[in-house]
């Protein structure tokens, strides 16, 4: 029998995970992207490579190391200990941490590109107009990099929604805690509940298409507004 009420919890959990991850990634990714775009340090490309690693690393490998790090003997276990827990593995918090690593390149790269695209000149102009670095960052750099922020946020969100391998390794399949959409689809298929799998998979397909289309339209509009 088709149980529609069963479909909702994984959707809500996934949206929560993706929203929290995206906000965290914007907060963490922006300074990293700024540093990668502006620094003249020679080893910055090493940092850039580390950030980009999840693009090519098999999710299971990333998930394996995250599992160890989040487990009772890793730093994750130590943090969990502060709050009376044993481990961050197989928790929603652990999933957020894993997603931040996993989706990092999708947020950092567009923002870095946007910061690099406008060059030094606008910031120099702002400095000659008495704007201190922090001031010019907010009033010039961020507005000029807006297309990069939009792209980064959309990609980061969408990519987190579609995450599977890492979730399976570090989150498992706990309803209401770590059972996100992709895992739910997998489970429905395993238990031969095709109708539920169809609804969720179809929904994700429409979602992914809408995301890509919206982004392309946005980019075209923003490109027209540029000088």
């Amino acid at each position: 029998m088709l149980e529609v009420t069963e479909l909702w919890p994984p959707i809500r959990l996934t949206l929560e995970l993706a929203a929290i991850t995206t906000v965290l990634l914007l907060l963490l990714g922006t300074p990293i992207a700024w540093w990668l775009a502006r620094s003249t340090a020679r080893w910055k490309e090493v940092v850039a490579a580390v950030v980009a690693l999840p693009l090519v690393l098999p999710p299971t490998v990333l998930g394996f190391y995250l599992l160890i790090a989040l487990g009772p003997d890793g730093p994750g276990g130590w943090i969990a200990g502060l709050f009376g827990g044993r481990s961050l593995a197989f928790t929603f918090e652990g999933l957020v941490i894993g997603s931040v690593f996993y989706s990092m390149p999708f947020v950092v790269q567009p923002i870095r590109n946007a910061f690099e695209a406008f060059g030094d000149r606008p910031l120099e102009v702002a400095a000659t107009l008495r704007a201190a670095p922090w001031d010019s960052f907010w009033t010039v750099a961020v507005p000029l990099a807006r297309p990069g922020f939009v792209t980064g946020a959309v990609l980061g969100f969408a990519h987190t929604v579609g995450e599977f391998g890492v979730v399976l390794m570090i989150g498992g399949n706990i309803p209401g805690e770590t059972k996100v959409l992709s895992v739910a689809i997998f489970e429905h298929v395993e238990t031969l509940r095709w109708a539920e799998a169809h609804i969720l998979a179809g929904g994700l397909l429409v979602f992914a298409f809408a995301v890509i289309l919206t982004m392309m339209l946005l980019q075209r509009r923003m490109a027209r507004l540029e000088p």
Partner: protein
């Protein structure tokens, strides 16, 4: 120029990438001082060092206030210096309207207690940008954009205005559209301007003093008239455009023949009509190649301008056909570009009285500037 409060005192020495600079100069706290030289001579680097955008070892004080002094380990960041900087490209913020671009600097200057010497409405009127305020920078022409950039720099209440080839990115028509605004700026502002340019025509029209640079070193420095008269600086000032600047007064607008007549220390110069009021003082640039010399006063000749003078210097250029003569015409001096053969045939020599001939049609609007001369 020993009074520190009245001068800009700069000294920079060091290397930036593969480029080396070693320069010290003083400039007055008024008028336009041009940093002039060929591309790659380091003039933009000097300007950027003055703004604090680049840092080379040295010192800089402006009107008695130290902005950089490496002996004391002192360096003010660009945003802590009361400067206005006009870049080669207008570089308006594309995400802000013209109005918000204009007031970006002034709001911050006021917050830091900057004295509002320049009323914003005056600046907007002076530059003729009042009708553009609500537009986006992308909707402006190149000339309008550069005028807004100048206005934005001025509204930040600078004590020193730095301009880095503000006209070089513009076509000739647009340049001609902007130059009168810059002339007006010069005449009505009390802020000193350091003006970087590689165009001798611009320098002759606008600058009071010139610092001539070559390969990161100072070649010459002085009032614009003196520098332009010096025959030995030709490789730096350029051959084709070499010439002098005279100060003259408009004495008559001849409507019948559409001529403007000027008086230069009792000698008359006629040129095609230029819209400047009778009695006003103007600067006139006369190129050496437009001046011919005669040993007797010619008669039956179409050339309108015959000025009497005395040769004060002749420089022959070995292995070329050319020579240049400097002629004192009582007040100012003219440069004349001749052939060496003519010098020999006419027996031209220093101290000889001659007549300098200039065709009126060799002048155009670009030869003339309404900038009052402000030269010691």
């Amino acid at each position: 120029m020993t009074d520190g409060a009245a001068t800009i005192d700069a000294k920079f020495a060091g290397t930036l990438g593969s480029f080396s600079l070693d320069l010290a100069f003083e400039a007055p706290m008024r008028g336009i001082t041009a940093l002039f030289g060929p591309s790659g001579c380091g003039k933009t680097t000097v300007l950027r060092c003055m703004a604090g955008l680049n840092r080379l070892p040295g010192r800089l004080s402006v009107g008695g206030e130290a902005w950089q002094d490496d002996a004391q380990g002192m360096f003010r960041k660009p945003h802590q210096r009361p400067i206005g900087y006009v870049f080669q490209e207008a570089s308006l913020f594309p995400h802000l309207s013209v109005r918000r671009n204009l007031f970006y600097g002034s709001r911050r200057a006021e917050r830091n207690g900057g004295r509002g010497v320049l009323a914003s409405q005056d600046v907007i009127d002076l530059l003729g940008i009042g009708h553009l305020l609500d537009r986006a920078p992308t909707a402006l022409s190149g000339g309008e954009r550069q005028r807004v950039a100048v206005g934005r720099a001025l509204l930040s209440q600078p004590r020193l205005l730095l301009m880095d080839e503000p006209l070089s990115g513009l076509d000739r028509m647009t340049k001609e559209e902007i130059l009168p605004y810059l002339e007006a700026l010069h005449n009505s502002l009390s802020i000193p301007i350091i003006y970087v340019s590689h165009d001798i025509g611009e320098v002759a029209r606008l600058a009071d003093r010139v610092i001539l640079l070559s390969a990161g070193r100072r070649v010459a420095d002085g009032p614009v008239t003196d520098i332009l008269e010096r025959l030995d600086l030709q490789p730096a000032t350029g051959r084709f455009e070499a010439g002098v600047v005279l100060t003259a007064r408009v004495v008559e607008q001849d409507a019948a023949y559409s001529l403007t007549r000027l008086d230069h220390h009792g000698q008359s110069i006629a040129l095609p009509f230029v819209d400047i009021g009778v009695g006003e003082e103007v600067r006139l640039r006369i190129r050496a190649r437009d001046v011919s010399l005669a040993t007797r006063k010619p008669e039956g000749i179409s050339i309108r301008n015959v000025l009497s003078g005395t040769i004060v210097e002749i420089v022959e250029e070995p292995r070329t056909a050319f020579a240049e003569a400097l002629v004192d015409i009582g007040g100012g001096r003219l440069r004349a570009r001749l052939t060496r053969e003519a010098v020999s045939d006419l027996g031209l020599e220093v101290g000889m009285p001659v007549f300098a001939l200039i065709k009126s049609i060799s002048f155009d609007r670009r030869s003339l500037s309404a900038v009052a001369t402000d030269i010691d």
